[in-house]
Amino acid sequence: MRITEKISNGKLVTLIVSVSNDRVDNIRITGDFFLYPEESITALESNFLGIPVSISDAELSNKISEVLKNSTLIGLTIEDLVRLFKKVVQ
């Protein structure tokens, strides 16, 4: 499953998600956004693995906030990530 969106006043982001038994099996987040430090993308993607597709927005948002607590995301927000994830796994 794949979704691409140009975030309003932000950057282009693509989520490619595969799901197995209603849980995230693999995810790749790509685009022309900025994330400091850049290596946090690995932790961000790993953080999605195994989560149920039915996860609530609030819970997913908390999980992402926790993994990015020492990182800065520019050009998209955590809320954008949550929204795109929910949309693509629907």
Binding site: R28, T30, G31, F34, Y36, I74
Partner: protein, 248 residues
């Protein structure tokens, strides 16, 4: 006041250019002077942002047949076609404390040096967050930044002349069905120095030197043999590898 180091315009292949930025960043983390370097890309190259998927962004066959290198940057942002003769690229590298902590504010500060430079050529320009400079409503410069080990690196390009059709023979568009429309749209949104004024690339470079060094103490020197050889090694061991460029 900090003594800046200015490294005059030199041309390298894309892998070496990215490696030089990393070598300088490491040396600055270890106490080296803040540095501004100017460079171009020989051969022409496409650079992609750290988070981009190479197969989504780049026409790899087109690059190969046009002898255009493809390299992943350490910075985020979008894919850029660096024509050997069509632009000037800069890097600003210094300890983070020299710049605003706020990322957009630090983009704005360094971009103001480009805006000053264009002003010297009577080309009015303004900063457009997040990371662009526009003139008469069109993009003339794109910029990208990373911060590691207490060091800020910002690099960016100033378009001297631009061939949008060539650019899109090397970059992919999100929807091939409306490619013509997208190219027309980019032609509307992107400009270059020569589209604004008849100014040579040499004159643009001089203006950039003047704009970037305004109100700064600085010394000018070339890359040392040791810096260059370390960069060449790093280019081979990282920036030219499939592992790096195809990581996404």
């Amino acid at each position: 006041m900090n003594n800046w180091r200015i490294i005059p315009l030199q041309e390298f292949d894309g892998f070496t250019n990215m490696a030089i930025d990393e070598v300088l960043s490491t040396s600055i983390a270890n106490g080296g002077p803040p540095t501004i370097r100017f460079y171009s890309w020989k051969p022409s190259a496409v650079s992609i942002g750290y988070f981009q998927a190479i197969n989504d962004e780049v026409n790899l066959d087109g690059c190969k047949s046009n002898l255009v290198d493809v390299v992943r940057r350490r910075t985020g942002g979008g894919a850029v076609y660096h024509d050997q003769f069509g632009e000037i690229t800069y890097s600003v590298i210094g300890k983070q404390e020299l710049f605003p902590c706020d990322i957009i504010a630090s983009y704005k500060l360094i971009c103001s040096w480009i805006i000053d430079s264009l002003g010297l050529l009577d080309i009015p320009a303004e900063f457009k967050p997040i990371n662009d400079i526009i003139t008469n409503g069109k993009k003339i410069s794109g910029n990208a930044q990373t911060r590691r080990n207490g060091v800020l690196l910002q690099h960016g390009t100033i378009l001297h002349s631009v061939d949008v059709d060539k650019m899109f023979s090397l970059l992919k568009v999100s929807d091939e069905k409306i490619k013509d429309k997208i190219i027309a749209n980019v032609k509307e949104r992107v400009t270059s120095v020569v589209q604004q004024k008849e100014i040579s690339r040499g004159a643009l470079y001089q203006a950039l030197l003047d704009g970037f060094t305004k109100d700064k103490d600085y010394i000018t020197n070339q890359l040392s043999d040791s810096e260059l050889s370390t960069a060449k090694e790093l280019a081979i061991s990282r920036y030219a590898t499939k592992e790096w460029n195809f990581m996404r």
